[in-house]
Amino acid sequence: MKKEKTIYEDLAPLHAKAQKTFFAVGIVFIVLLFSLWKIQVLDHKKYWRQSEANRIREIILSPQRGLIKDRNGKILATNIASFQVSIIRENCRDIEESLRKISRLLDLELVVLRERIDKYKFLPEFQPIVIKDDMKLDEVSRVKARQAEFPELIIRAEPKREYPFETLAAHVIGYLQEISPEEISQSQGERRSGDLVGKTGIERQYENMLVGREGRVLEIADSLGRRMGEISREESMPGQDISLTLDFGLQSKAEELLEGREGAVVVLNPKTGEILALASFPTFDPNKFISRFSPEEWQNLLQDPEFPLENRAIRGLYAPGSIFKLTIATGALDSQIINQWNSYYCSGSTRIYGHPFSCWFKGGHGSMNLTNGIKNSCNIYFYQVGKSMGIEEIARYARILGLGARTGIDLPGEKEGLVPDSDWKKRVRNEPWYPGETISVAIGQGPLQVTPLQIAVQTALIANRGNRVFPFLLMDNESDRTEAAKVEIRESVFDTIITGMWKSVNEEGTGRASKIQGFDVCGKTGSTQVVSTATAEKLGTKEKIVKTHSWFTGFAPRVDPEIVVTVLVEYGGMGGATAAPVARELFSLYKENDDR
């Protein structure tokens, strides 16, 4: 009986409970379905994007920057292999914690690191920010070994710019620096943070040719950042190599001669306008700027009172001094205010408009015609000529000879200088031009300002008997070049001027220190008195100090000239004593090479 009861026990209440439970299970299944629908169908796009971002990694392949060579193929700027490490903030668990660990790993100061991140915090989180470059191999392997621990760090190989001759032609070649946030936004996505771009010189002028095109690899990475495969690859395109018109020998020689002074040298080919040497001193080593992290050296250079970063050859503004006598002479002859036989008497001093003016040679040069006036750089002669011409004529001819305007050399930042006239004075000082001012302009003083390059170009024009050339540095660039053009001045005028310049060098004139046996050098010296407060400050005195800048400009040979040399030495003293010997060395080196 007991068994019967067991078998036929009423289990209905239990069944009902099981039924209820199963009903609940069904409801939970429905909830599950809706959750699944939401995540897989409604929010699918969002999660799809996230899964793609998870796995796809973009690697940028830096292009090799184009080489910069001199005219004979000597490499002035090249690339070497280097490694950089960047941080991807998106991959940090906690950015502060991460920075602390990284600062230990890479031996970087935490403050510097944080500053670095702050500078680029406007960038999207997934974009890498370079935190260290030019890494040593052991640093690279240290990071690689702990990659799993630091998924936020990526290492990239990048070609690093190197200037094998360090300071050589630094002002011409320029240097690279990290792209600024402003430049990034201007580049419309072409450039990214951490890119190095040319900031001055040829590096900047021909940035677009040199830079090449970035390559891009899309690769699949797993959760530990390990490479699992490649989706696409676009190789980088190396930048174009550039040949400059510079001559390595002349350039080195020019810099060697300027060593220890402040000044500039321009050597060019008067027939074509090719710049053979363009030196400015003091100088700097552009290798030092390539790292993104050299704030100290950079600041030192910026604050150096001698402005080593300035390219004095195209940006230094100087009074031309007696060099300007060539300009005056050309104008006076062409406008027939004088002819080559007219002479003035130099007694060492004279009175013009009731003011005393003196010659640099206190004893007086005696009776001076044009060629002797140039040869001896007689002030009295040119006071008279200038007075006869008047400022408007002087200014007109100065402009014809290329002063007061950029020469158009293919370097950024060239200055145009200043050729004063009555309009200028009215405009700038709101005063009429006084005739007495013309007298100081006649010997290249007063408000006149020229760059050494302008003087070199003017010298080439004279040497070419009126053919104006346009200076340039990039070889084989026919399309961008302006052809030499004849100015509207009679050729015979230039013959007379050249005779004076020849005498200055070869007949014991002021330029005699540049004389070379067997190479007909024609030249003109200049010594300009400058009142320099900057120098006074430098020397620690309150008084203004009167110093003399030393000029020489010349060409050779007299017939069918091949080379123009212009030298400026700041505070160098008399042009004949300081600048002319420098020019002589360059002429003679050129001749040596030519003879060989």
């Binding site: 239990l14 409970k17 099981a18 199963f22 299970v25 699918h44 899964s51």
Partner: protein, 364 residues
Amino acid sequence: MMIDRNQLRNIDWILIGLLIINSVIGLAFIHSSSHYLPGNHALKQLVWLFVALFALFLFLSMNYRILMTYSLYFYGVAVFVLAGVLLFGRLTAGTKSWIVLPFFQIQPSEITKIAVILVLAHLFSEYRRDSLSIGHGVLGFLIVGVPVLLVGLQPDLGTALTYIPILLAIFFMVGLRRKTVIILLVLALLSGILGWNVMLKDYQKDRITTLLSPNKDPLGSGYQTIQSKIAIGSGGFLGKGYKKGTQSQLRFLPARHTDFIFSVIGEESGFIGAIVTFLFYFLFLVRLFQSVTKSRDRAGVLIIYMVGGMIAFQFFVNVFMTLGLFPIAGITLPLISYGGSSLLTNFLAVSLVINVRMRRFVNV
């Protein structure tokens, strides 16, 4: 002891079929999510599947009523083994959950569930009152509590948690007075507070707080939840294709072939695949719970109900976990996740259900 022909005819082949279908779905995605790992996980699981099937039929040959009468011995041995593992076991992956034998290892914390189910069924088989008495309540609590404590100390909180639905199932079936419910809630609250402060490790607390805001710490404890949701969500309607889930194949997804296998299914086979998986699971649970009406006695009902509750609970907790709706608790997806002990245990549990069903017309 032997199965007679009549009983053989009453074996629930449909339930066995569904059991195998779900295990094969598991096998497929275990392969997809571990084929690039050392050690052939899918093959191991296949071997376990055969072992489990064999054990299932072996178990069928023994009447569940007889098994119940010996259940206290099973239980005693199981608790003894659990204590032994805790005392002498080697740490594997930070826990002492394993008995390591040549060629394979076994998790006693899984198998113990069978003993617990049998003991509870035995205890309540002759209980006729319409609600739970304090004495039986405490006894039930202890029967489950001892192994839960031992498993929790390993520490394997996830597995410990899977014992809870067994206890709740039996209490619910026996019937609870309002007073008892309140007492249980207070007890649960107390043990919750105690557990939070004493038993839970920091990382476990993190997992619970992370559920509330997974993006707060995307690479920390929120990482798994986020990656799982990305996997399932990015699968979309049709999925990325078998073995083509980037979240899984590129290892962004954690515990791919174990706890997060459903995320792999969701990613690679999409909404369609997930629905199909759900469907087979649903059918399996339907069949399981239906067996309740085929039991001839109280103990059978209780056994079926406990087994169904145990499996359904694990299934839901696991899926909700992968969807980011439940804390990451280290609970696997029964039948589908990789793991031999778990597979064996679930097969034995289902074997008990079939056992009850096939012996409904027989007197002992």
